[in-house]
Symmetry: C2
Subunit: 287 residues, 2 copies
């Protein structure tokens, strides 16, 4: 998995650098480039592996992987804003609004969302119908019934009189982080016009396991290793999977989800080895 | 023109209300609905008339008109934020961040951008190739080489040591307001796969005339009529077409642009009457 992920990282960074180079220079472009640099690229990896499992070449899938990472980068830039989660550190570096300004962070995020959609129109992705399937699924995944909706629930929870229960937090995360992960993991079948159900089930379990692992890291992780502030949820009195299930309960739940994710991959046999490894990685990582 | 514009307004509002009704309820959806209500709908009108001139039915063009207005609404919500233009009044009503919160305004804007792209995938628009042409042109018009770029130049100008000159401000407005107006006016030929050049020339002149008229209204208009704060640019020491050309010079320039816009419509003959009327309206309006 590591070699494949390194290759995906390099390809995606190259694709994003190339498209950004075509934009007018200035603070906006600098901030966009800064925001799309680095990261684990888990979503790009999901796109590329899901494509490979459906006979879709790396060259075809690459603009989709780049789109997903551009979108993810925008969501982080906006989430970090003072009016939102108010984070000053991301991937061990100052966040965009700290390095430049709030206005530049808002605009860089806005333009990264436009860029993500532009990338999905790329000729290399194949016939027009395939691209339209992707764009429609992507718009639904990232908008008012997907990612942004989840983020809005998260913001609302901060001022709610009662902490969220397990159902509510599962629903919230299904939007906030789950929807884009599900899009990424089903990009292959969407391009190939194949059944997305097995990879969708995989991604649903993976996304939730990933979020539970994030909550665990917020309690057990170190800022040096994670590159972001830890202990924030607890300090803010926010309900998390750890506060609701306890540390061991959260670990058990994450493990059960990984088992479910692995079994969803059975129809793909040996070929899905990288995705199986990724499922185990998301709960074993320390960053 | 008035009857046609009233019809377009009703159709677009209906289309936007219908799609928003499909999203989960809550503050996010309420803020989105609030943001897309009202306005002059000039961009939607451009889409519908440009479509009509190319034999494209209202039913086909409507999702495009709705997309353009959703995108425009998002841009206003974000532009009004405290970190940007810091406006508390829009269309005579409190802006979204005043009525709800900054977080909700950021998220509602974000989700309106996603919605705009989703609308452009609508089956009614016609074959997949046409929709992809639209989506690609739209992404370019609204992102880091179009609208957001212009807005970034505008923000940068506020802290620049010297006021902008005429070339710089023309370039800025070509991005900030011009790019989306040009997309709207060329939507018809884009759908019909026809030459967009005449309508693009029309829209370029119209967009600049519109902005000059806005600058004139900021000096001569009243808050009661315009529904937004006036005198802001002058108070901020910002260069405008009025500060650079004088009031009469700005009026002359706007008039010359309207003449150019009208002559760009010559190939369409009598059929372009509504667009000719719109060109005159943008410099004669008091709101």
């Amino acid at each position: 998995m590591q070699a494949r992920n390194d290759a995906v990282k390099a390809l995606v960074q190259q694709a994003l650098d190339a498209v950004l180079a075509g934009f007018p220079g200035g603070e906006l472009r600098d901030a966009m480039a800064y925001a799309v640099t680095g990261g684990k690229r888990i979503r790009a990896f999901l796109v590329m592996e899901s494509a490979r499992l459906h006979g879709v070449s790396d060259l075809t899938a690459l603009p989709v992987a780049a789109a997903v990472e551009a979108l993810h980068a925008y969501s982080l830039v906006h989430d970090d804003l003072p009016a939102m989660d108010d984070d000053d550190l991301r991937r061990g570096q100052p966040t965009v609004h700290v390095k430049w300004s709030e206005a530049t962070a808002i605009l860089a995020g806005d333009a990264l969302q436009s860029l993500a959609f532009e990338l999905l129109t790329h000729d290399k992705i194949g016939d027009a119908a395939a691209r339209l399937r992707l764009i429609r699924a992507f718009a639904k995944a990232v908008g008012a019934e997907g990612m942004v909706w989840g983020q809005a629930l998260d913001i609302a929870a901060e001022v709610a009189p009662e902490p969220l229960d397990l159902d509510a937090i599962t629903q919230l995360q299904g939007g906030k982080t789950g929807a884009l992960i599900r899009f990424a993991a089903t990009a292959g079948p969407l391009i190939a016009d194949a059944d997305p159900a097995p990879l969708d089930r995989y991604a649903q379990a993976l996304g939730l396991a990933f979020q539970i692992a994030d909550d665990i890291l917020d309690v057990t992780g170190s800022e040096d290793v994670t590159g972001k502030r830890v202990g924030k949820d607890d300090a803010a009195g926010k309900a998390t999977f750890v506060s609701l299930l306890g540390l061991q309960g959260a670990r058990d739940r994450a493990q059960a989800l990984v088992t479910d994710a692995e079994s969803a991959l059975l129809p793909y046999g040996e070929a899905a080895g990288n995705l199986r490894e990724l499922a185990r990685f998301v709960i074993e990582r320390d960053t």
